[in-house]
Symmetry: C2
Subunit: 389 residues, 2 copies
Amino acid sequence: MEFKILKKSKKSRARLGLLKTPHGVVETPALVVVATQAAVKALTFEEVKKTKTQILISNAYHLHLRPGEKMVEKSGGLHKFMNWDKPLMTDSGGYQVFSLGFGADYKMGKIITEVRSKNQELSIKLGHQPKSLKITKDGVRFRSYVDGQEIFMTPKESMKIQKALGGDIIFAFDECTPPIADYDYTKKSMETTHRWAKECLAAFRNKEVRNKNNRQALYGIVQGGKFKDLRVESAKFIGSLPFDGFGIGGELGFNKKTMFKMLDWVMEVLPEGKPRHLLGNGHLEDMEKIFKSGVDTVDCIVPTHYARHGIAFTSQGRLDLNKKELLNDKKPVDKNCDCYVCQTYSRSYLSHLFRAREIAPLSLLTFHNLYFFNSFVEKIRERIKREII
Amino acid sequence: MEFKILKKSKKSRARLGLLKTPHGVVETPALVVVATQAAVKALTFEEVKKTKTQILISNAYHLHLRPGEKMVEKSGGLHKFMNWDKPLMTDSGGYQVFSLGFGADYKMGKIITEVRSKNQELSIKLGHQPKSLKITKDGVRFRSYVDGQEIFMTPKESMKIQKALGGDIIFAFDECTPPIADYDYTKKSMETTHRWAKECLAAFRNKEVRNKNNRQALYGIVQGGKFKDLRVESAKFIGSLPFDGFGIGGELGFNKKTMFKMLDWVMEVLPEGKPRHLLGNGHLEDMEKIFKSGVDTVDCIVPTHYARHGIAFTSQGRLDLNKKELLNDKKPVDKNCDCYVCQTYSRSYLSHLFRAREIAPLSLLTFHNLYFFNSFVEKIRERIKREII
């Protein structure tokens, strides 16, 4: 993989770049579209390709449980298995350690549900363990939600899985620290992530488990929660290791202010020449600020998830297609959008389909939202180019 | 509308024809693809058009309840509303009188569930009424499943609705007689259907409720259950009225032997020059026999409904993609199929997606099944042409 910075903004840390992968070039800043289980929910890949999507991210944890990386490997790898011949990332499963662990215990929703964890400020302390999984110094023990089998996920195992899957960019296995963890928990969790980062690098370089085509890139993940000294320490440590790029992790969508502060701390420290990926964050209203902080790529379920719930993103704001009023609205979802859904269907028709619980509108609105998000990011690239931001 | 018979088989009653509608020509025999709520479930119309689908059928009953025919009319009619510019039928709602009435009471599943009504032979007698709706001589009274509002559907009302919707071919409002109705019930029900047929014709010709473009065709519906004298009487009566074509109604999928006998009785009597449509029946294994009986078009939920349950139709028979064994099967769904799904994806990948409860495989398999069914019927047309059947 090669990362070329074409232009650096003089007004912010934003950069315009090209991420060259074995499956094509990604123009950055870019949205990485989520395809957790080797599918973008509600779309075929023929459709995904028409949404200006440049790169996808699948999930090693979910694919390990089902259908299993060995099966995918036998099919010729994830690209071939799902018929996506463009750039592809896989996430390591570190986030799932959070979401199925403390995330579930404390009902801390991600951006998905927009549930926030109120009155739980720093309630996870050193020594605490989530109910349904056990985090040890070597890895995470849990049961498969598919067949109940006990699994022990380690950095080495995650590398093995991700090599078998064969994504162009893979991520180190980390502990995604809960946002309500206190300083001591966060520090220890960060140290675990750091130790695992080195183990991932070792396993990644180990030829025994090396991916055949040998052209994968590995990103390390910065943790450290909401604490400045820890974030800086983590960025320094992870930034000093020979990773090809860096993920910025931690469930930080809970508090936007903290997230942007954190991004500043981290970007100040990370080596400039390597790509940076913000994991699981990318609300439309934050996008420009995120990229201005120096992030090159983000992955986010917002466009696809909201689409399935009837929420369209438009140049005029959000639009809830479940609403009865829209039944009589013959305008397109967004009059300023040139996607085929906006060129073809009315709000009225889509609203009818959502209200009638049809399946087709899930595809149609996912298409629009992805097209809209990708166009939105495209415009940000244009603005960096023209030195506006 | 014009119906032109190009060729009559010498070996059966099969005919090759052209059904010319204001929105294009349908080569018959043809499968009419179900789009009940103004959408083919799990597909966009861009996709539907690539499945060799020639004509759709939507449902006046469902569209009356949601979103309402007035709204559709204001959008420029059903074609424009749903962006389907090819031939389109609407069903009258007669079948729903059965399925939501006695069908529900006796748990008589349609082909959908493949439940049969055992030990209920002829248990509906003269004077019986279903629990949740009331069938009077003038119409059917029931409550909307959408908002609980009381609705009285009459032949005239059904015509009004279908004119507002604006399908190319519309159907008379009938009572779809339950297959377990005894002789007396069936006779009286048939007489109701006959009276309503005349009322539909009158309303259809009434300029006050005439569709603007004035180019719709109206099909009458033959009932008479499983009783030969009633079926013959109904075919004679309905056949003598100035309909543009004929539907053959009644829930007859319960007993295939009866269905084929019934088709023989009816086809013997119906005027030859007009098109005949078998309502709601079209299992793949029956298709050739149905068309050999002299039917020109069938509508059937089998290809789309089964697809959503992971069942593929192939040249080697049915294939259940939910099965674990298929996870390792790299072959396409059907090696003899040239649809894009079979050219692109493996059984393995589709099986993974079904097992992972993704949405995309519903679209992918619906696409294949429709393509497969339409190709199957295409071959039947070819065989009639070449005088094989």
